[in-house]
Amino acid sequence: MPSQTTDPIIKFDRVNKSFGDLEVLKGLSFEIGAGERVTLIGPSGSGKTTILRLLMTLELVTPVKHPDENGGVIWVEGAPYSHMEKGGKLHVASERYLRQRRQKVGMVFQQFNLFPNMKVLRNVTEAQVHTLKRSKEEAESKARDLLDLVGLSDKVDNYPNQLSGGQQQRVAIARALAMDPDILLLDEVTSALDPELVADVLGVLRDIADTTNITMLIVTHEMGFAKDVSNRVMMFDQGVIVEEDTPDRIFSDPQEVRTQDFLRAVLSE
């Protein structure tokens, strides 16, 4: 396991999340160091995707009374993230605060979610121009570099629905990277793809993992990819961490029965 002498870039402090009566996360705590690549595994409904969605602020944590003592707070880069400090106390974050803080977090979705009304190039430049206030030229040159990186420089003038799923997902990766995120969230990015298109997307992600120091949180069923890319695997079940370890150890010698059962089920697919 990597030593965590530096401050964690992400810290969950007794985080709760419920959807109505359904408690998905129950006082979940963990830390992730800068530059770590962490894969979250576990059966569906175990809360993995919820963790990513909380970090992207697509969901908000279920508030806890007196967060200063009782936690229920997500911290990013040493500052409260789900909450904000006001008068020395933590309060639930406003949309304005979230907008300021989520700047450094990017996400790639299972369903790509490219904007169908924009050509590929504009999908990658739009947010740079409108939220980072980059000039059009700067955004375009950055977009072209990234599209080149994901092997799609010939598709800049296509609309998303003229591309295959794998190509769309690679555009989505370029789009997320264009924002220069410190943290990249990958939510089952190959699950919606035809099997023959998975390798290209994973190849691109491997390149990015090799050449950058972006912190990555990965939810995936591709165990081979998890093994190659991540330096830590966290096994979730019912909103709690069952087991965490290096990928080598967790895949070859899982300690917990639930991990063993889960891996057996996934690998036999």
């Binding site: 907008r99 979610n113 009304n117 947010a127 609309y159």
Partner: protein
């Protein structure tokens, strides 16, 4: 009946024709503004914005456009003590509010039909609410609205004939006036304007079809989608629209 007299009288239609066009185009344009205003408001997540807009929409839709027209022509001037110098403005406002309220449901439905993932992606890229609406939601919702808005535009054209009941000399009023003169034939004149209205409806429909094709191209869909084909099989100037909302919501499903 004297055909020569009838033919000689045709040029006198120019001005009433222009009135009908002005009422229809003016009210359509204003209705579009009303529709987007109310549609955006009824789509809001804030109750304070949504509730008043919802109330206005239900209020207008629940009542009768004919009565509303008379209300604007006769009750409002007394109530507020204002009288428009430009009489057709009354007609334009009454029709625009009514059809704007109906169309706002189309706008709301099309906005609601934009897949949730699009909003999430926009959040992940840190767009503001206004940017999400302007850059992501409306460009996608707009092509879905066009067929239904077209239907409402044609309904508005038809309803424009009602302004003849409040002393505005449009096609209908003029046909009735002219048709009663000596040597004229009322049925010929009424028949004639029926044909003119039909041609105008056809023009609206053709224009909207072109607009829809262009809008779909802007989504990278070279060919009209399933929904457009539906309209085609209905084979009419006017598609198989429903009088109430849901028009777009149903069609929007196939994009998910």
């Amino acid at each position: 009946m004297d055909w020569q007299t009838i033919i000689d009288s045709l040029p006198s239609y120019a001005e009433p024709f222009w009135v009908t066009v002005q009422v229809t185009v003016g009210a359509s344009a204003l209705a579009l503004v009303v529709a987007f205003g109310l549609g955006l408001m009824t789509s809001s997540k804030h109750l304070i914005v949504r509730t008043p807009a919802r109330t206005v929409v239900e209020f207008i839709r629940g009542s009768s456009v004919v009565v509303q027209l008379f209300w604007f022509a006769y009750a409002m001037p007394q109530l507020l003590g204002i009288q428009f110098d430009y009489a057709i403005l009354t007609g334009i406002i009454a029709l625009a509010l009514n059809y704007g309220a109906y169309s706002s449901e189309v706008v709301r439905g099309a906005i609601a039909a934009v897949p949730k993932g699009q909003l999430e992606a926009a959040t992940a890229l840190n767009f503001t609410s206004a940017q999400k609406m302007r850059l992501v939601i409306l460009p996608q919702a707009w092509p879905e609205m066009i067929p239904s808005l077209c239907s409402f535009a044609i309904m508005l054209l038809k309803a424009s004939a009602l302004v003849s009941l409040v002393q505005i000399i449009d096609l209908t009023a003029w046909a009735e006036t002219l048709g009663r003169r000596p040597g004229q034939d009322l049925l010929v004149h009424l028949g004639l304007i029926l044909v003119i209205y039909f041609i105008l409806a056809w023009l609206i429909w053709t224009g909207m079809r072109a607009l829809e094709r262009r809008a779909k191209r802007g989504l990278g869909q070279g060919h009209p989608t399933t929904r457009t084909k539906d309209t085609e099989t209905v084979g009419g100037v006017l598609g198989g629209l429903e009088p109430d909302d849901h028009v777009v919501t149903e069609g929007g499903g196939d994009r998910a």
